[in-house]
């Protein structure tokens, strides 16, 4: 369970999150919607302890991580698998080395075993032919697929975190990523996806939260979202039925 208890966060003098309160179970499929700069990515970073809140408490799996030191957060971070916006693959490493990164850090596998595991993981998402390519040589869709596989390579996460996983992709590649996300959550593992693409959110999640200027102004299921009268949400929902010119 992830618990945010009156969490506030500032970037310099700008308040990004205001007294945020919510709890999410590890098996829930949650989409956090909101505009750019409304604090969606910040929220994911707070869950992982990559940022420290200015006030309030964050509790992960019963442990208060608010004041934990960097080395104490390692265990907490292993409970999650995160895919950052645009994949965040290491520029200086090829696809194979990127996926093998966690295996080298966390396991004592031999080079041969690592090679086999990487091939197997990349094979699952159809990019095994790109093992020797550098990240800049990959398409956007391939980039995300490799990033997802890298995040799973070394450990079994309890929950997946996706930061704008389908943003910037064409419909075909966005569909591939959505199917992959659903596939990975088949065995009851939940995920949090932050996005501003309402179409993908509706396809993937069961619970929806809407962030506006650092506050959660909506938290509910699909039906409640569709019937919401909040003006910002109505604007987002227009994506489903764009007005014809």
């Amino acid at each position: 369970m992830i618990v945010f208890d009156r969490v506030s966060f500032f970037y310099g003098t700008q308040q990004v999150l205001k007294d945020t309160r919510f709890s999410i179970r590890f098996n829930e499929r949650v989409a956090i919607l909101g505009g750019s700069g409304d604090g969606k990515t910040t929220l994911l970073k707070l869950i992982l302890g990559l940022l420290r809140p200015d006030s309030g408490r964050i509790i992960i799996d019963g442990e208060d991580i608010t004041d934990k030191k960097e080395d104490e957060l390692r265990e907490i971070r292993m409970k999650f698998s995160i895919v950052f916006q645009e994949g965040a693959l290491f520029d200086s490493l090829n696809v194979k080395e990127n996926v093998a990164f966690g295996l080298r850090e966390y396991t004592k596998m031999t080079e041969e075993e690592i090679g086999q595991k990487v091939r197997e993981l990349l094979g699952k998402v159809g990019v095994e032919h790109a093992m020797e390519l550098m990240p800049e040589e990959l398409s956007g869709g391939m980039h995300r697929r490799v990033a997802i596989m890298r995040s799973l390579a070394a450990f079994e996460p309890k929950m997946f975190l996706y930061d704008e996983a389908t943003t910037g992709l064409d419909p075909v590649n966005a569909d591939i990523i959505c199917r992959l996300i659903l596939d990975l959550s088949k065995d009851g593992k939940g995920f949090i996806i932050v996005t501003h693409k309402v179409f993908d959110a509706l396809r993937l999640a069961d619970r929806f939260m809407f962030l506006k200027s650092g506050s959660i102004i909506f938290d509910g299921n699909k039906d409640q979202l569709m019937q919401s009268s909040i003006s910002e949400i109505r604007i987002f929902l227009r994506e489903l039925n764009p007005p014809l010119a």
Binding site: K45, L48, L50, E70, R74, R77, M78, F80, I82, F84, Q85, E86, A88, L89, F90, D91, S92, F101, G102, E105, Y106, A154, D163
Partner: protein, 254 residues
């Protein structure tokens, strides 16, 4: 920037510099990253240092020839070229070129890693970004800048020789005997300590600027520019302080 922010930034900078240095003696060691950094900093800067040093040595020798010929002190060209290159101009020039090329590269690389969430990804994988990214850059600079300085000094002195002998028509034997005369322990030590300090400063400043990048492409431009400008200023300031200390320690009379 207010006083509070300045103190906070200085505190962060000292902490990063200290942790980066501590990484040299604490496991894990990222040997592949260290070799990569040495290659980038050393081999990549080799020809630039060679070229700049050659022309600097020739220009210095030319200036001195013009001035000393009129006074009848042409035989001192080698001595003055040697002392100024070994003790002062060589280390400072190599450090400035190094800061311009390697320091800016470090800041922009780390800055784009910050903006692309690659540093966050390292932390998620339980890897200390200071050990993985800063320590190899500090070590690379600590090894390669002194090596480049020695090469630069040698080439500058050769450039000075060319002008002294073939343009100013001074005896080559006199030039080399003057150079041998200034290659004493005090002068060599004085010129050899500086690149270590400069290398450490450049790596720490550039890594700090890179890792504190905020705000997209403009932020990246700002951090890269700051890395070079602050490094330049600190090299000049540190050079004066070091010169003063070395004069005192090595007993140079004023």
């Amino acid at each position: 920037m207010g006083t509070k922010e300045l103190i906070s930034e200085l505190q962060d900078f000292y902490l990063l510099s200290f942790r980066g240095f501590l990484g040299l003696v604490r496991r894990p060691y990222y040997s592949k990253d260290i070799i990569e950094q040495m290659d980038y900093a050393g081999a990549g800067s080799f020809f630039i240092i060679l070229l700049v040093s050659l022309f600097l040595g020739m220009a210095l020798s030319l200036q001195l020839s013009a001035e000393l010929s009129g006074l009848g002190f042409k035989m001192y060209i080698g001595r003055i070229v040697g002392v100024s290159i070994i003790r002062e101009i060589g280390p400072v020039m190599a450090a400035l070129v190094f800061a311009g090329r390697v320091g800016s590269g470090m800041a922009s690389e780390l800055g784009s890693m910050i903006l692309g969430h690659q540093v966050d990804t390292l932390r998620v994988f339980g890897v200390d970004p200071v050990k993985k990214l800063v320590t190899p850059r500090i070590l690379g600079s600590l090894i390669m800048l002194p090596a480049l300085t020695i090469i630069g000094d040698t080439v500058s002195i050769l450039g000075g020789y060319y002008i002294a002998v073939f343009v100013s028509h001074q005896s080559g034997a006199v030039y080399w005997s003057s150079i041998r005369g200034v290659l004493n322990f005090e002068n060599v030590l004085s010129g050899f300590i500086k690149p270590f300090i400069f290398g450490y400063l450049i790596a720490c400043i550039s890594c700090y600027m890179g890792l504190s990048t905020k705000g997209g492409a403009i932020g990246l431009r700002r951090s890269t520019t700051s890395a070079v400008v602050v490094s330049f200023i600190m090299i000049i300031v540190a050079d004066f302080i070091l010169t003063r200390i070395l004069f005192y320690v090595l007993g140079f009379s004023l």
